[in-house]
């Protein structure tokens, strides 16, 4: 089973009229904003929650409140 194509893939022909007129008429974003978004998209995964963050969230946001609810009911 070949893992690569041995023949070229022709690109689709360009449509005569744009199928997305709203996008064509939408105002362009400022260059500074475009640059910021591009920079953030490339390194996005570094700023997400990691395993320790999820541990604290489950402990403080779910486990401890559940325990408090049980203790409070019988208090």
């Amino acid at each position: 089973m070949p893992t690569q194509r041995h023949f070229p893939v022709n690109p689709l022909p360009e449509p005569a009229h744009s199928s997305l007129p709203a996008q064509a008429t939408a105002p362009a974003l400022p260059a500074e904003l475009e640059a910021r978004l591009a920079a953030l998209e490339t390194g996005a995964s570094r700023s997400d929650f990691d395993g320790l963050s999820w541990f604290w969230m489950i402990l403080i946001g779910i486990a401890i409140p559940l325990l408090l609810l049980v203790i409070g009911w019988w208090a």
């Binding site: 904003l33 996005a44 969230m57 403080i60 401890i64």
Partner: protein, 315 residues
Amino acid sequence: MTVRENLLADESAWPLLPGERTWGAARLTLTLATTAAATWCYLIGESVGSYLGFVKGGIALTAGCLIGMLLVLLAAGPICVRFGIDSIASTKPQFGSRGWMLPAVLQGISIIGWNSLLIIFFAKSAVQLGVALGLLGSGSRSPVLVPLLTLFACGVIFAALRRGATGVSMVSNILFAHVFVGLWMLYLLVSRRWPELIDAHPALASPERLWNYTTGVELGISATLSWWPYIGAMIRMAPNGRTIVLPVLLGMGAPVPLLSPHRTRRRAGAEIIRSGRMAANRGRARLRHRLARIRHGGEFRHDDRGHLRLRHRIA
């Protein structure tokens, strides 16, 4: 990145780059805790104290606040931290490039309404402080001073908010002291009036135990859910998700149950004071009766209007 560019990025609603996010966990905790304590910590406990006692109310409020803060963190945290944007900007994927105005308008109405209330509270409290310190006469100047102090507070807030999240952080560094003042007041109440606090009965408690308990938890959840529009503007200053988790859950969630029961206890304290006054009145009435018997040979009796009248004993 220059300082000027950093300031401009802070003041604008544009996404913040990682190099512009300079807040660590300590600074975020301080800002969030001060913001939580300064806005309405002291008002939530009064509502919970109407339905639940001291211990149960504190536990229900703590559980509700932690649950609510988790929901807020999950709603705003991932997108605000990843792209360095505030909560309202994070609604554009759901509401569209024009539809985001709906949450923005709702937030604006909420901010105007709630902050107007807080500013008026501030002005009235400042006048009361002036009266208590003997700087002002009682009552006569309030109609003029309250509006003037309200305008002054508006000016201070405007000057602070013009600097964006940095301005909020600067003010928080000063106002953080009042968190300790609140905790000190709490310590005084608990250490000196513990038996009365435990015995105080919630004024509006339902006969149904479950209803009271769920109401206390729901008040905590709903109160902290209202942080969603505000929290994005602060957590976007942090570099990653790990930095914001504990400051949000504990820095913003803990002051509410810690300082709110202040009002729970205050309500209970009001009952203590009221019962004390009633006892004192009863004592004074008994004393009057005894004095009347001794001095006048008669006694005081209540007339039809409830006023005390001296009636001489007929020999």
